[in-house]
Each structure stands twice: as structure tokens, then as C-alpha cells.
Symmetry: C2
Subunit: 445 residues, 2 copies
Amino acid sequence: MSTTGKIAPISGFPEYLPDERIVEQRFLDVIRETFELHGFSSIETRSIEPIERLSAQGEDTDKEIYAVSRLGGGDEDARWGLHFDMTVPFARYVLENSGKLSFPFRRYQIQKAWRGERPQEGRYREFTQADIDVVDVGQLSPHFEAEMPLVIADVFRRFPVGDFVIQVNNRKIPGGFYQGIGLTDVTATLRIVDKLDKIGPDKVRALLLESGATDEQASLCLQLAAIRTEDLGFVDQVRALGVEHPVLDEGLAALADVIRTGIRNAPGTLVADLRIARGLDYYTGTVYETQFPGYESWGSFCSGGRYDALASDGRTTYPGVGISIGVTRILGLLLGKGLVAASRSTPAAVLVTLRDDAARDEAVTVATALRRRGIACEVAPSAAKFGKQIRYADRRGIPFVWFPSAGESGDEVKDIRTGEQVPADAQTWSPPAADLAPAVTRVGS
Amino acid sequence: MSTTGKIAPISGFPEYLPDERIVEQRFLDVIRETFELHGFSSIETRSIEPIERLSAQGEDTDKEIYAVSRLGGGDEDARWGLHFDMTVPFARYVLENSGKLSFPFRRYQIQKAWRGERPQEGRYREFTQADIDVVDVGQLSPHFEAEMPLVIADVFRRFPVGDFVIQVNNRKIPGGFYQGIGLTDVTATLRIVDKLDKIGPDKVRALLLESGATDEQASLCLQLAAIRTEDLGFVDQVRALGVEHPVLDEGLAALADVIRTGIRNAPGTLVADLRIARGLDYYTGTVYETQFPGYESWGSFCSGGRYDALASDGRTTYPGVGISIGVTRILGLLLGKGLVAASRSTPAAVLVTLRDDAARDEAVTVATALRRRGIACEVAPSAAKFGKQIRYADRRGIPFVWFPSAGESGDEVKDIRTGEQVPADAQTWSPPAADLAPAVTRVGS
């Protein structure tokens, strides 16, 4: 079709060039492979949900929902919106299919979501999330709370994101602590302390005093939030504050279990950070955030937590725990800052050249033989001069150029990076393993 | 969160259970792998386009576009809709990035699209398409028209879709033929003949006569449309009708090239079918449709063609050729009719059992060792009786159950299908290759 009208990017709806897309694909492949190695099953949910379900969280983000309606009308009974995360649709999917799923249900979900936020660094209006959750019926065993960050650490071990720290807390620690010092409105206190990163300790103290806390209560809240240890030291540091409450004890024991499991299975990746709260009300136990040191201003790249009721149909409640990788935010950093790059812009490892137009059949036969053995290739688009055909490969980063019937003994293949050209047989030749697929590597490392 | 309100599927927005999703994933993997072996680069475009761009085709499908708007307002200057295919966004992407792409540009695109159609057999309102296109600047070499169906045949060779026939025609054949017999309004004639499958030859004849054709002209149109050969026989059959026109000659030569290439590289998959027209106006050369014998009522599962102007910015025109696999339609058939199934509902090949709760560390160590060697597994959720843990595996189709420190010499692993239990070491044991990932097979074959 003829395309007319303005051609322009839309802010907050990122698109990649082919070489950047190869980086994204590799990251998504690593995420999926890791999730599957850990025994999570994939599901995908439809992109839309009834708006009343999306806005059931009752947050002030309702106005950020993208509503969907058919241009020609119809469907008048339905008010739909694009989902803004995977949690709402997953909860609905669990209720809808509860009779057909096996619990505890371990699922992963890698999909696009949409949110009408103001686009800025690390914030997009169309973005990809990669979630794992374990959901059970009635009760959920706490060991799953220790498992989630290990899966994330395994993903980041397999892809060059650079340094990362998974910060873990347990909602019961501040919850029990605040009750122990006589601050009974736990949610309000949590909301104020959650602003620490944004407004700093002095302003948090002022807000706490304003909300009715005494000077000593406010100090204790700030002292608790300042505790951060890579080992189990946080337990003694909390104890040293002299506050007693059974819920605090539960929280400390639970967080100690998560940190202990982390030290054993993914040393150096978890930190107990008692400032972490997560904004969302539905978390009831462990909560997770993830920072990349040096890029704290981007916010958390991977977050989640434990909730006692992911979903409920009135009779049955489904508790769960989950964590979500902000794929687009991570790629926004890695590609935006040029930290990671692909070695070529096409999957093809080989370009099969054309001696003349009549040689196309012969070239296609070579290409077919290579493909049958898993070697991605393409045939030159035209029988231009060999120099031009080599430039075609070079421009795309294709490392090998094949010359059918080039030598006395038959075909030859040239590594255009070194210039080395050797006899080759399409039935047996393979490129070095490192050249089979595009390499995705940390730049400058 | 607590989820309240109606829980129900939305017609035309299909969702799969985990074992069905495994079938979908395998199909998408095969498609992607095949496209990449043939040297196509992946891109993804944003889900939305300006509505005026989506409706630029000027068809009566405009009312089927889903418009998108932010619930809280804002973005008032923008009128966006969800894309209904990959062609419109790809054309825009090519124009937007023309300076950064290398031409001829071979790209694939596997994404969801949305169209507010009445849901029915094979028709969905949210669906996945898998497209390949080759687009060039100014001129596009005709050999790409012969290449497209070979890629599709390669996809279908690697996934158990069952029998299929790729029907090929060239728009220039009916175009030149109609002109040769004096029917100058080619488009109108094509539109009438395109109804053959729906209304039959008698009604098509009546419509042709109504439009001003003579009895003899109408007969010749119907005779042309009835020609269908697996070899080059169609050329002589057309010649036997005694019509002469230079455009007809071009079309016959071009289609003969496509069929000849198909016979050589993918024998038994292509058929020259002179009835195929494709509804869309922008095709100018080869056109493709694909039928699964026995399921003709579902329509074409894979379609496309050559267009002289995929996109144009006024100065430069980008001709192309492409073909699109209707992934959701094919899965609707294969899953809906139970023709293909997955052997399990989880990627896990092994369940590591728990002797007691204190043995979890040991079990996690086994699981970690298996995962490092690419074996997907999970640890039993609780130290229930072994019988219950085995049922947990059985319900999900997990073929192997691991018992840490079970025998005198150490761990043992049991194939729960045969009951055979043998000593095993997590550092060296592997399941048979066929059990490593879920098998996806034709049912009853």
C-alpha cells in the first residue's frame, strides 16, 4: 500500500533496530530458558480485561489505563482496557481455570503491558514484563519466598546485565516493629517511610511527627529503615533497638530464612534491606526490589513479593508469591547507554554468493544443505561483483561468505574478518560455535 | 489482590491451558528458527498506530479497528488504534528507519494483532501472525517471489500441521487475460471471480454477465479460474484458451519460475491455482494462499503476495513480497480438533522429592546441578508421602522422579512411566533426549 501521513516515533512506545532486537531476543531467551529450568510453565493471557477488574485495585493509577473500543461500535456491553501488568490477568486466569490447573501452580508469563504514564527514563507506555509466580490453594509454603530471588539471580548470571543487588525485606518486620512501638496505623507509617529514597530522612521524620508519632517513635522508624546487611546481621541490629512484638519475630525469622537460602545458593546477590516496602497494599510477607549499582535513579528493575490473596472467589483463596523482571526498563538502560551489543544485525552466519544469475540453483542447494544442519544463511540478492556481495555481508555483520564451485576441488568459504579462504563442503562444514548465532556481549568487557 | 466480579472468557480472545501453550510455544519456536535459518531478521513494532494510517487502506474494515485512549484523558492530539496486521506497521517502520536499514531488507515479525471481527471458526479478535517480507528500494528482484513459499514449506515440514497445499497465482495472469479478451475493468472482474469459492460458478457467471461481459467472455474467465496444476501444465492449458496479451505472457513466465523453483526445492507442496486472487488491492504479482485439505472451510492458513509499493515517501518507493502464517488460526484447528498435543503441562523433566523438610537443602543442590546441565526440574513443594509426591509428578506429566540419598550408593531416579528405578548422579545423569523437553506430536500418528 502507499503510505502517506506523518511518520514518527510515539513517545513511550519503544521500537528497536534489528541489531538491538537481537539483544532483546537473547535476553528474553535467557529469561524463558531459566524460568523453564526452574520448572515454571508458560501461560499467556489476552491483552484486555474488563475495566472494572483493572481498576479494582482502587489506586490512583486508574486514569493511566488505556481503554479499548471498536471504531465501528458494537460490544457496547463491554468496557475493556489493556492490562497494565500480569498480576490482574493472572489472578483472573487462575479463578477461571482453577478446576483445570494443578496446585501449587508455577507459572511464568512474558508479555507486553500498557500504562499511560508520562514517559521518562526507565518508564514506558508499552513495555514487556517477565513474571514468575507460585500460587497455591488456601496455604502457600514459605520456602517459595526464598526461591523467587534465586531464579532471578540465575537469569542475571546468564545475561550480561552487569552488577545487581536484590534487596529483600519482609512486611512483617516494619509491621510488627511499628505496632511494638505503639504506632498502630501500620499502612500510613509504611507509606511515609517508603518515601525515604525520594525525600530523605529529615522530611520523613517531619511527616512522621505530623502524623502523630513522638520524636522517639520517629527516630526508631528511621533507625529500622537504615538497617541493611548482606548476612544475618540485620537480626541483631533490629534486636538492639529493643522493640518486642510477635509479628516482628515472625518477620525476622522469615527474612533470615530467605537470606540464608540466598547465601547458600546465590552468594553475593541478596541483601536484607529494611527500607524496602513496595507501594502495593496486597503484599503481606517477603518483598523484593532490584537495583543496578550506579543506576539507582532508574528505580527497581525487578520487583515482587508475597500476597496472601492473589485471588479469591469467595469460597477459596489463592495465596502466592511472585517477582517480575522489567524487561523494557533493563533494555532501556543496556541499549540506551550502549552497555550491551549484538555482533550482527541478522541471524545469518553465511552469505552464499552468486557467480552469475544462472548459478542461483546451485547457491540455493548450498543454502539448503547448510540450513538442514542448523546454519542460518542467505543467498546473495543478485550476481553483483564479488566485492559488492562481500560488502553486503560486511554491512550486516555476516562473518562468512561462501563461494560455490570456486576452487578446483569445489566450494570455498571465506571468513571476511580475517580474509582466510578455505575449501569447504556444505554437507560437513560448520562455523565456530561462537559464530553460529549473533554474539550478545557487554561492551568494553 | 482480592478479585471480584464476573470471571469469563471473552469471545474471540483465545487463551490456552499450560499444555496447549506448550504446543503454541513449540510452533512459534519452529517458525522463528526456520525464519532465522533463512536469514530473516526479527523486528517488533509497537502495538498502536495512528488511526488515519490504519484506515489508509480505505477498506470497509475500518470499523473493525480497536481504538485506544487513555482513561484519564490526555494525548488528545493522538488518535491511536491497535494494529490489525503487521503490514501497515512494517511499512511505517521501513520509512521511519530507511536510513538505518540495509536493503534488500529481510525481516520477520511475530506479533499479536487485533481486529473487531465477528468471532467464528478460524476468526479471532486477538490473534498472532508470523510474517516474513523482503523489501527493497526502487526495484525488487523476482526470485524473492519464488523464495517465500519455500520458507513456509520448511516451517510446515518441521511442525506436525498435517497435509497442506500452497496455492500460487500471479495477478498478471488474470490481469493480462481479461485485457486480452476485452474486459478492461480488471479489478471489477477480479472481484467477481474471487467469489467463486463462496457462491459457485453459476452465480459468478451471472454477475459477470450483469457487469457487461459477453457469454463467451464469462466462459473464458471461468475456464481460466478452473486451471490448477501441480506442474507447469497450467501454461499450456492457458495457451489452449487462445488468448494473447503481453501482460499474460509476463504472468505465465513468472508463475512458471515460482512453480519450477518449488518443484526443485519443496516437491509436492506448491500448486499453480489460477483462481487465487487475494482480496487486497495492493498485490501486483505473485499471490499465495494455503489450504489444509479437509479444512477448506477454515479459509487460508497462510497468505501473501508481491506488492510494488509497500511504502513510499514520495521520493522513494519500496516494493516487497511477503507471506504471513495465521498462527492462531492454525492452532485453533490443531488444538480445537485435538490433532496435536503436548506430552506434559510443564517444562520440568524431573521432580526432586523431599524425604523430610530438613532435606530441602539437599534437594535444591540436586536441582541446581541438573539445571546447570540444562535439565529442567522442580523440587517437591512439601515432604508429603512419596506416593503423593509421585502423583504430583504424574498429574503434570513429569516423567522422572529423583530420590536424593535413596540407596546405599547415593541418589536414585525413577521413570514413573515404567517404574524402573536406578542409581543416578546429578552431575552426570541425563534423561533420554526425547524426554528433555515436552514432546509435541500429532495425535493418533
